[in-house]
Amino acid sequence: MSRIQTTIIDRATKQPVPAWLIDNLDSDAVNTVEEAWSGTRIAGAARLHQTGQAVPEHWHWDWRRKSAKLRLLAYRGFGIECEDAMQGLMMTSTAKHTARLEPDAGKPLVYIEYLEAAPWNIRPIVDEPKYGGVGIRLFEAAIRYSQAEGFHGRVGLLSLPQADNFYANTCGMTSLGEDSHAQDLIYFELARVQAEQFLLEEEES
């Protein structure tokens, strides 16, 4: 595992706080995170369901069922750690998908299999989320990983409907429409030019 300093936002003070981007998480590390998260995630989803509110679409995720893939070279685990707790997780793959956007259609990209912020950072699982900016830091890590692999920042993913706005507007990805092979989830892709623009804007902000 490697650790790179980054920042996320303390929502109480609205100020950036130091955090660590951790690369190459193994399955044991991811399983430990799931054990720390699952109680809050499930309790929050149950409370929302009982009060008739929309439940986060990923409430049933269990990283322990996903983490075995991390022993394969095609998969990689990333996390954002702050105050000795994991604030977000992401799993990528690099061998199963290729770009669809021209002029790079057919060329490799980093595909985000799963990305989740810790449940205490998600409204409405909690009323007052602790940290913000976790998802965007993980997305940035995917772009930088893509560049390091020679994929020029290309990133692709299938989005859950509640996250469509985040990927389209916050991340600046292009929607390529519903994927009939994946429960009609929308496939989003970030082209190399969009990746450069994203990183430029992040550096300026």
Binding site: S2, D23, L73, A74, A95, G106, K107, E149, G150
Partner: protein, 69 residues
Amino acid sequence: MAQKRTMTLNLTDAEMNALQELAIRKDLSKTAVLRQALRLYQLVDERLANGEKLFFEDDEKKQSELVVL
């Protein structure tokens, strides 16, 4: 990022040409092509070892071909 180790790779002209062509087509370095190939080979081999099958589909001919690695 993970520490990298170096190895010497001996290829025939035909293999080197194939590697070069893939590198150009995929806009990758030759090293990146080989790393992608290794990832894919390991992924497919793992799934085959678990009893899954690999098919190529041709939408026009409505055919699927079983691939054996």
